[in-house]
Amino acid sequence: MGPAEGRRGVTIRLEHISKRYRLGQRETVALDDVSITVERGEILGLIGHSGAGKSTLLRCINLLERPSSGTVTVDGVRLDTLPERELQRQRRRMGMIFQHFHLLSSATVAENVAFPLRLAGVSRTDRERRVREVLHWVGLAGFEDKYPSQLSGGQKQRVAIARALAPGPDVLLCDEATSALDPQTTQTILDLLLAAQRELGVTLVVVTHDMSVVQRICDRVVVMHRGRVVETGTAADVLLDPRHELTRELVREAGWQMTGRHAPLMGRRTVLTFVGDNVYEPVLMRVAQAAGVTFSIVEGRIDRLKVQPFGRIVVDWQGTDEQWKRAAALLEALGVSVSEAVTTGSRG
C-alpha cells in the first residue's frame, strides 16, 4: 500500500441531525439536532456512554441509519438525498469496522477481503493482488486461506480492517473497534488505525466509550450525552481541561482526574500538567533548588497523548508563601501548568 501522497481528503459534514424512533406510543429521541464536521485526514473521536447516540451518529455518515432530519455531506456530496443505487456507490468510498468484526464465517480471509473489491467490479487478478497487498499491510500475510473461526479476536479485527481498506477508501468509520479486545491487542489495533491515518491518509471517525482510545489516537473529540453534543475540542483540551460533567467523569475513569486525595497532605497541594518534551526533564528539581522549596510527589502518571509526551502529577510543596510564589512562577515559565488540587470528597 502506497503512502498518502496525492490522495484527495474528505470533509464530512453532519448538520442538524435528528433521529427519532417511534416505539408504540412513545417517541425516543436518539439524536437531537447534532452538527459535527470531520476535517480531512484527522482522527475524530465520538465518545460517550452507551445510549448516548454516538453509534447512531456514526451510522448516519454512511446512511446505514437514516436521520429523521438534517443533512449529511461527504466530500461535497449530499448523501441523504441520493437514490439507493448512487448511495451504494458512495458507501464504497467509506470503510467501516465493528466491535464484533462481522466477517463472513463461510468465507476465507482472502474471500472476506475481496468482498468489497468484487462489489466494485475489480478484476480477478487485480483482486488477488490487492488482497495479498492489504493483508500484508495489516500483518496477516499468509492467512489468505484461513477461516475466521480459526483466528483470534485481534486477527479478526485485522481482517476486518484489511477488508475495509481494500478498496482504498477515503474514510474509515470505526464502531467500538477495540471494545471486544484485550488491552494488548487493543494497542496493536490502535497502532494500525494510526498507520491508516499516517501512511494512507485516511480520515477516521472513531466511536468509543473509552477515553484512553481518545488519548492514544484521536486528534479531536466530540463528547456526546443523551443524543446531544456536550463538548468538542482537541483531544488535549478535552483530556486536560474537561468542561462538561460527563467529560470529567470519562477523564476520571481513564485515571487523568487526579487529586491525590488518598495521600496525607504534605504541604501546599498542586496538580502539575506537563505537555511536550519537558515531561522528561528534571523540572521539579530545578524549580525546588532555585526557589528553595522541597516537595513530595503524591500521585502521578506520565504517558503520551497520541505522539506527544504528557504527564500529570500531584505535588505537595513545603516552603514559605514567598518561596512558593517563586516556584509557581518558575514552573509556569518552564511550560508547566499549575492548578490548586481540588479536594472534593464526593468524587470517586
Binding site: R89, G95, H100, S105, S106, L119, L173
Partner: protein, 217 residues
C-alpha cells in the same frame, strides 16, 4: 420368502429414489425463494413488507396444516392439469412438492434467521445491494442450516412418497400397500420398510457430512 418379487422391489426402489430426488429438487427451487421472501419481508434492515409477509405466512401455514393424505387427493385436478394423469410416479411428484415446499420454506427461513445481522450490515456498509446481500451473505452464511433443511425435507418426502402409494403413486410405499397390506404378504412389507429405513439413514448421513463440511464457525 419365496414369493418376494425382487425385480418389482428394485423397480419400486428406483421409483422412490426418482420421486424423492425430483421432488426434493423442485421443493428447494420453489421453497427457497419463498423462504427468502419470508426473511426479506420481515427483517427491518432488508425489505420489510408487513402485509405481504402476513399473507405469505398465512398461505404457508394453511398448506402446512393440511394432512398430506388429504392434500394429495385435493390437488388431483392440479396434478392432472400439469402431468396429464393423476396416477403414477410423475403424478405423485406434484402433491409431494406442493406439500413440502411450504415446509421447506419455513425451515429455510429459520436457517436464514440464524445469520448474524451484523454481517449483513457490514455488507450494506460496503455498498452491497439487497440482492447482493441475499446472494453473497444470507445464503452462503446460512448454508449449513439450509443443507440440514434439505436433508430433513428429503427424509420427510420419503415418508410422504410412501403415502402416495395409497393413490397409486408407485414406489416402495405403493408396493408395501399392494402386497403387504392388501395381499397380507408381511415379508414384502418388511423388506420394503427396511429398504426405506436404509434409504433414510443414507440420506441423513450424507446430509450430516455436508453440514459438517460447511459449518466453519
Amino acid at each position: 420368502m419365496t414369493d418376494i418379487v425382487w425385480p418389482e422391489i428394485w423397480q419400486a426402489t428406483w421409483e422412490t429414489l426418482y420421486m424423492v430426488g425430483i421432488a426434493t429438487a423442485l421443493t428447494v427451487i420453489l421453497g427457497l425463494p419463498l423462504g427468502v421472501l419470508l426473511v426479506l419481508w420481515s427483517t427491518p434492515r432488508l425489505r420489510p413488507q408487513a402485509v405481504l409477509y402476513q399473507v405469505l405466512s398465512v398461505v404457508v401455514n394453511i398448506v402446512r396444516s393440511v394432512p398430506f393424505v388429504i392434500l394429495m387427493i385435493a390437488v388431483i385436478p392440479v396434478t392432472e392439469w400439469i402431468v396429464g394423469t393423476s396416477i403414477g410416479v410423475n403424478a405423485a411428484i406434484v402433491p409431494l412438492v406442493i406439500g413440502a415446499a411450504p415446509f421447506f420454506a419455513r425451515l429455510a427461513e429459520s436457517a436464514m434467521r440464524e445469520v448474524d445481522p451484523g454481517v449483513m450490515e457490514a455488507a450494506r456498509a460496503m455498498g452491497a445491494s439487497t440482492w447482493v446481500i441475499i446472494w453473497r451473505v444470507l445464503l452462503p452464511e446460512a448454508r449449513p442450516g439450509l443443507i440440514a433443511a434439505v436433508t430433513i425435507t428429503a427424509v420427510t418426502l420419503v415418508g410422504y412418497s410412501a403415502m402416495s402409494g395409497v393413490i397409486g403413486g408407485g414406489g416402495l410405499g405403493d408396493l408395501a400397500v399392494r402386497y403387504g397390506y392388501e395381499r397380507f404378504q408381511t415379508d414384502v412389507m418388511l423388506v420394503t420398510t427396511a429398504l426405506m429405513v436404509v434409504l433414510v439413514q443414507i440420506m441423513q448421513m450424507i446430509g450430516d457430512r455436508l453440514v459438517q463440511h460447511y459449518a466453519r464457525r
